[in-house]
C-alpha cells in the first residue's frame, strides 16, 4: 500500500514552506540593514560628516565624498530628467503602436539591463578619453545620466499613461493646444509619479560604484569644479573595505549610504502611494 498525502495536508505543508522562504528573504534584508546601521551608527558624528578625509581614509571624515556624490548625482539628474520625461511624453502622447514606439521602448528596456561595469567601460572610453573630459564629476555624472535614463523613462511613462483621458479632452475643449495640454495638464497631474522615477534614479546613482570609479576617479580632494576628479561615497566605502584601511570608517560610510538609500526609497514609496491613491 502506498502512502498518500491528502490535498489538504500538502496545502498546509507547502504554505509553511512558502511562508518560511518568504520570511527568510525579509529577514536577510532587515539583517543587512540592521547590521550595517548597528556597526556604523556610532561613527556618525558631526565631525565625521564635515571633516576632510585624511591618511587615505584612516583618519578624518567623509566630506569630500559626500560633496562628490552630491555633485555627480546632481549632474546625472539634471541631464537625465528632461531626456527621460521628454521620452516618456513622446511615447505616450505622440506615438501609437508601431515601429517608432517599438524602437524607443526597446532602447529603454535594453539600456535598463546593461550592467554598470559596461557603463563604466563606455564612460571611460567615451567621456574620459574620447571627449577628453578626464576623470571628473562631469564624466561620472554623464555616465550615470545614461544609466538612470531608463528608470526615469519607464516610471514617467506609467505616470503619464495613468492621467485620465478626460483631463486632456477638457483641455482641448477649452481651446488648449497639444503642447499646452501636456505642459499645463498632463505633466502637473503626473508629477508625483514622474518624481518617483527621478528619485529612484537618484537612488541608483548614489549607490553606484563600477560606473563611477572609472569615470570620476577616486581623488580625495575637495571638488572645486565639475572638472575635478572625485571619490563618491560608494567608491570610498569600497576602497576602505577592500583594502582594509579602516573598518570603523568603512562601517560609518556604509551607514551613511544605507541611510540615504532608505530615505530615498521611503520618499519614492510615499509619493507613489499618494499618486496611486488619487488616480486608481
Amino acid at each position: 500500500m502506498t502512502f498518500r498525502i491528502g490535498p489538504r495536508t500538502s496545502q498546509i505543508i507547502f504554505y509553511v514552506i512558502l511562508l518560511t522562504m518568504t520570511a527568510i528573504v525579509v529577514i536577510v534584508l532587515f539583517f543587512i540593514i540592521f547590521y550595517v546601521l548597528r556597526n556604523g551608527v556610532d561613527q556618525l558624528t558631526l565631525e565625521f560628516l564635515s571633516d576632510k578625509t585624511r591618511e587615505m581614509g584612516k583618519e578624518g571624515g567623509i566630506l569630500p565624498s559626500i560633496l562628490g556624490t552630491l555633485f555627480i548625482t546632481v549632474v546625472a539628474t539634471v541631464i537625465a530628467t528632461p531626456l527621460g520625461v521628454g521620452s516618456a511624453v513622446y511615447l505616450v502622447e505622440y506615438t501609437r503602436a508601431g515601429p517608432i514606439r517599438r524602437i524607443i521602448s526597446f532602447g529603454a528596456d535594453c539600456l535598463a539591463g546593461v550592467p554598470s561595469i559596461i557603463f563604466g567601460l563606455f564612460g571611460f572610453i567615451f567621456f574620459v578619453i574620447s571627449m577628453n573630459l578626464g576623470w571628473s564629476i562631469l564624466s561620472g555624472g554623464l555616465t550615470l545620466a545614461v544609466m538612470i535614463l531608463p528608470t526615469i523613462i519607464r516610471t514617467s511613462e506609467e505616470a503619464i499613461k495613468s492621467v485620465p483621458h478626460t483631463y486632456r479632452e477638457i483641455s482641448y475643449s477649452l481651446g488648449g493646444g497639444k503642447l499646452d495640454t501636456i505642459l499645463r495638464v498632463v505633466i502637473p497631474t503626473a508629477l508625483p509619479g514622474i518624481l518617483t522615477g527621478v528619485i529612484l534614479g537618484i537612488g541608483r546613482a548614489v549607490g553606484e560604484t563600477a560606473a563611477v570609479i572609472f569615470t570620476a576617479g577616486s581623488s580625495l580632494g575637495l571638488p572645486t569644479s565639475i572638472f575635478s576628479s572625485t571619490r563618491t561615497l560608494a567608491v570610498h566605502f569600497y576602497i576602505l573595505a577592500r583594502e582594509g584601511i579602516s573598518m570603523p570608517k568603512a562601517y560609518g560610510t556604509a551607514a551613511v549610504l544605507i541611510i540615504i538609500i532608505l530615505a530615498i526609497n521611503f520618499i519614492a514609496y510615499r509619493l507613489m502611494h499618494r499618486f496611486i491613491a488619487r488616480y486608481y
Binding site: M21, Y35, P115, I118, L121, L149, N265
Partner: protein, 277 residues
C-alpha cells in the same frame, strides 16, 4: 507651429535611449573586437591570461562567470518564486502592500554593501564551516542570489497577478486546493512572465561586478569545487582597467564585448517573451 516644433524636439529627445545604446555598442566593440582578431581565436579562448605578455585567454573567466551565475540562479529562483507565489496567492492586500516595497528595497541596496556583508559575515562563515579560503564560488552565488531576488520576485509576482481570476474560481469550483491551483494552473499560465524574470535576473548576476570582486577571491583558474576561489569577466575588467594600457586595455574591452553580447541576447529574449501577449 509651436506644436510641430515641440513634436520634432520630443522625437529627438525620445531617441536618447536608443542612441545611447548604439553609442555604447559601438565604443565597446570598436575597442574590443580588434584585439580578438589580433590575438586570434585560439589565444582568446585559451586558459592563459597574461595580457602584458601576449596571453589573452578568457576561458577561465567565462567559466567563472557562468558558474557564479548558475549558483545565483540556484539560490535566487527557489526563494524568488516562493516569495512571489506567497505574495500573489497566499497574502492579504495589507501584507502585499507591506512586503512588496520591502523586497524591492533589496534592489536599492548598493552592490558594495552586499559585497561588504559577504566579506564580514558570509566568507568567514564558509571558511570555518566548510573549509577552503571562504572567498569562493559559494559565497558569490549566495550574495548574487540575494541580489537578483527583487528582479525575480517583482516580475513573477506581476505575471501571477495578471492571470485572470476566472482561472482560480474555476479551479476552486471543482474542489482544488489553493496549492493545487498554483501548481496546476497559475504557474503554467504565468510561465512566460516568470521565465522573463529569471532571464533578467540572470543578466543581473552575470553583469554584477563590485560584490563579486569583494567575495569571489579572483584567482585565475577554473575552480575545482564551489569552495574554490573564482574570477569572472566583470571582476577582471574592474580589477585591471585602472592600470591597463595598449593591448591589455583592448583585451579588457574584449571581455566587455563578450559580456555585452551575452547581456544583449538575454535582454532581447526577455523583451520578446514579455511583449508577446
Amino acid at each position: 507651429m509651436k506644436d510641430k516644433i515641440a513634436e520634432k524636439l520630443l522625437l529627438f529627445i525620445a531617441l536618447s535611449a536608443i542612441i545611447s545604446l548604439m553609442l555604447i555598442t559601438f565604443f565597446i566593440f570598436q575597442q574590443g573586437i580588434p584585439l580578438i582578431f589580433k590575438a586570434g581565436l585560439g589565444n582568446f579562448l585559451s586558459l592563459k591570461w597574461a595580457p602584458t605578455r601576449g596571453g589573452f585567454g578568457i576561458l577561465s573567466m567565462v567559466v567563472g562567470s557562468l558558474m557564479v551565475t548558475a549558483g545565483a540562479l540556484a539560490v535566487g529562483i527557489p526563494f524568488g518564486l516562493a516569495a512571489a507565489i506567497f505574495l500573489a496567492e497566499f497574502s492579504s492586500k495589507a501584507i502585499q502592500k507591506t512586503l512588496k516595497p520591502i523586497i524591492e528595497l533589496l534592489a536599492g541596496i548598493p552592490s558594495v554593501v552586499y559585497g561588504f556583508i559577504g566579506i564580514v559575515i558570509l566568507v568567514p562563515f564558509i571558511r570555518e564551516t566548510f573549509g577552503g579560503p571562504g572567498f569562493s564560488v559559494l559565497a558569490a552565488s549566495i550574495i548574487l542570489g540575494i541580489m537578483i531576488l527583487p528582479t525575480i520576485v517583482s516580475i513573477s509576482y506581476d505575471a501571477l497577478l495578471a492571470v485572470p481570476n476566472t482561472y482560480r474560481e474555476g479551479s476552486y469550483a471543482v474542489g482544488a486546493t489553493k496549492w493545487q491551483t498554483v501548481v496546476l494552473l497559475l504557474l503554467p499560465a504565468a510561465r512566460s512572465g516568470i521565465v522573463a524574470g529569471i532571464i533578467l535576473g540572470m543578466g543581473r548576476a552575470i553583469g554584477e561586478t563590485m560584490a563579486v570582486i569583494m567575495i569571489a577571491g579572483n584567482a585565475l583558474k577554473i575552480p575545482g569545487s564551489i569552495l574554490d576561489s573564482v574570477r569572472t569577466l566583470t571582476s577582471t575588467i574592474a580589477l585591471e582597467l585602472g592600470y591597463a594600457a595598449g593591448d591589455h586595455r583592448g583585451a579588457l574591452f574584449a571581455c566587455g564585448s563578450i559580456l555585452f553580447l551575452i547581456i544583449i541576447v538575454l535582454n532581447i529574449i526577455a523583451i520578446r517573451i514579455t511583449s508577446r501577449k
